[in-house]
Structure formats: structure tokens, C-alpha cells
Symmetry: C2
Subunit: 234 residues, 2 copies
């Protein structure tokens, strides 16, 4: 497998700018004009055409030929022909629900296992996990099942932070993840901070970017990984 | 109907302390020792016996005879006999899943429509809505459907705030609710700030506490309600 999973799309530098060196490395073996499919279904308040145009513009320097999955006459054929599958952020429930109802989850998972490169951020990173049970998103629509692509053997929590608005009496992020780990004591969860990414080559996983990342498992104290190879397989 | 729906359970004053005058008013027509059932299923990292004991201790001055639903030999009979149903906060998905799998959602809804008082906070307030689609909680378990008690005709977003940790690139609360309103343009959502509550008598709803609360509907600018009677029916 060949995946790049970002926590976030935007930074002070602009849209996807902070990730461009890693994106270029992800696709370095591909020829100019390689076909890529962008999955915009996490977008709710943004129009899918606009979202696809935004991503195509941000990735113009890659030379990829990017098509929105929503505009493909035959979505299965588009995915079968794609050298790169790009899944954008937004609402994870909306993303998963659209792919499930169109019967495309298995197609995406198979294509990535066959070697198509996968670029995701936020909801698009969560989608590669066994389930979407560690998303931060609001459950605005029922995806009719929480199981996802299952390309990774562990969960990601994107936008990881334990900061908390002053005066807020709701749960902290660490408390939310402790709840998940209580119900799922054998499932690791990696907290992926803003600006961080995971790079998956085969079954090797590396933490990319300047930040450390905590791994939560059951009732254990979180293990903090430094950037570099992780000791957990994909 | 006779409901008191709190945003949060704890404040600097202690557990449920800020809400005691409103809780006393909710149950003022009941005799000393009236039977009450506490539903602890939103608790994930806390033991249900401990959670029930915490709530019983906090409500000792009410004179209610409080039993945990999890310890009832016949949960349906316990709910049928309860003058007050109390639903605590925690994880909304866990709460809804347990009630659905035990077939108790309809029993709770019917008892409240028949006149049993209902006291809820956080997840326990969300449960009275048409669905749990406006919870802030992490979807740590699939409740096998997002529809809830449907006692209210609108959605609540508890712990409402639009504050945002510095450096966070995820969605703001207003953005999350805008996503819900995009997919559900006819469903109002009331943002219930910390320290606020809704008091429902029959189909009359009032905002209780010192804070204003915004009502979101479709793409309209949010309407801000002052404490007092609301112009939306239960």
C-alpha cells in the first residue's frame, strides 16, 4: 500500500501547501498526467464542483489529471482507472454514507490494496481506519454502519489536541478517546496533531511532520511517538 | 409533558447544584419518597453503580427514591412505576444504543407523554430530540440508528459554544451546525450554553438560566433567544 494521511488540509501557508513535499513523494513514480480521482463527499456546505476545483488547483504542480468522483458517469470505472485516489476532509459521516450507499467502499479498498496511491486528510484519513468511531465530526447523517475502509489496523484521531475552550464543561479529547478505549480495549488510536501525517508504504507506517503523536490503547498510559517509523504495522 | 433539560451537570458550585431550584420546581407536585429511575447508560468510563450513587447523593434533598435502571430486575416495570425519569450525561451513542437494544426507548417516551417528569443533562437532554444528530460526542459505538425519543420537535446542541482552541484547524461548532442545517434545512437546532436549561410544560418551552441561546434553521441567520418563553413548541 502507498498512503499519505494528513491531519489537516490548510495551514497559514495555504491549502495543502504544508504537505506538498510529501504529496510529491507519494506520487513520484507516476508519469505526468496520471489519472486521479477526487472524492468530495465529505463536503457538506461546499459545492462538490467547487471543492474539486479547489483541490485540483492546489495540486496543479503535481501534474495529476484530477476528476471529481461525483461527476464520473461510471464511478466504479473511474476508481478502477485511477492511479491516485484523493479523499478530502469535511464531515466523515457524510463521506462514509455516500460511499456506502453507492457501493464504492470495497472498490476503493481493493484499488488501494492493488497499488493505487491514496491521499487523504481529516475525514479522508479517518476513512482508512477500521471504523469512523474516532472522528471528531458531528453525526449529521446516519452512514448506516460505522465500519470504514479498514486499510489500517488501528484508528486515527485527526486534529488531535487536548486543548479545551475556557469554561467548557463537555469532555476533553483525552476523555473522549478514553471512552472509545474503554469500549474497544484492543484497538489502538493514534492522535494525529495538526501539521502531522502518516506515511504508509506496504505495511510500514511512519509519522511525518514536526510533531509527536500519542498512541492510546486500553487503560495504558499513552505512548508518545516521535516523527519517524512507528512500531505498529498498517 | 414535564421536562427539565440541562446543558451540563457540574459547575464551580458542584454536581447539579446550579440546577437545584429548577429540579425542585420540576418535581414540586410529587410526594416525599416518590419513585425515580436513573438511566446511567451514557456513562462509559464511570461505573453505573457509582454514577447512580453520585446522582442520588446530589439529589438527596429532593426526597426522591432513586433506583438505577441497570439494577432493576424488570426495567420496563421500573420505568412504568417511576414518577421521575432521570437521564444522565456522558456518551450519547452509548446511551442510545443501550436503550435501543433493550427496547426501552418507546417505554421512556410513552411514560413521559403520560406525565412522568423527565430530568436530563447533556446526553440525557439530546435524547429527547428527534435524533442524536446534533450531539458533540464521539461515535464510539454504533447505536443502530440515530433516531431518539422524539419528545421535542427540534434539536438541542448542549454545551453550546463557538470558542475554539488556538491553532485548531478542525470545524467550529457553528460550522458543524451549519452542516447539519444544510442536510436538514427544516429542523431547528437550539444551541444550549453551559449553565442554561430548557423547561418544558405541556408543549410550552422556556429557556432557563442567565444565558441567551441561538436557534439555527437552514441558511437563516441564527435567532438569539433571551431567557423566558420560546416561540417554538415542544
Amino acid at each position: 500500500m502507498n498512503l499519505l494521511l494528513l491531519s489537516n488540509s490548510s495551514s497559514d501557508a495555504g491549502y495543502l501547501v504544508h504537505a506538498m513535499p510529501d504529496i510529491q513523494e507519494l506520487i513520484e513514480s507516476l508519469p505526468q498526467g496520471a489519472p486521479a480521482v477526487f472524492v468530495p463527499y465529505a463536503g457538506v456546505t461546499r459545492n462538490w464542483d467547487d471543492y474539486t476545483a479547489l483541490v485540483a488547483s492546489a495540486l496543479a504542480d503535481t501534474g495529476l489529471d484530477i476528476q471529481g468522483l461525483h461527476s464520473a458517469q461510471d464511478p466504479v470505472a473511474a476508481l478502477e482507472g485511477a492511479a491516485v485516489i484523493i479523499v478530502g476532509g469535511g464531515n466523515t459521516f457524510n463521506l462514509l454514507g455516500h460511499l456506502r450507499r453507492q457501493g464504492l467502499l470495497d472498490v476503493v479498498a481493493r484499488r488501494v490494496r492493488q497499488g493505487a496511491a491514496y491521499l487523504g486528510w481529516s475525514a479522508g484519513s479517518n476513512l482508512t481506519c477500521p471504523s469512523i468511531c474516532t472522528t471528531n465530526d458531528m453525526p449529521i447523517t446516519d452512514p448506516e454502519g460505522f465500519d470504514a475502509l479498514g486499510l489500517l489496523s488501528f484508528q486515527i484521531n485527526p486534529h488531535y489536541t487536548n486543548a479545551h475552550p475556557p469554561g467548557h464543561r463537555g469532555e476533553t479529547r483525552a476523555q473522549r478517546l478514553a471512552e472509545f478505549c474503554t469500549l474497544n480495549p484492543a484497538m489502538p488510536v493514534l492522535g494525529l496533531p495538526e501539521g502531522a501525517a502518516l506515511r504508509v508504504r506496504g505495511d510500514q507506517v511512519a509519522l511525518v511532520g514536526p510533531h509527536d503523536a500519542p498512541l492510546f490503547l486500553g487503560r495504558e498510559e499513552p505512548r508518545v511517538f516521535r516523527p519517524g517509523p512507528l512500531e505498529i504495522p498498517a
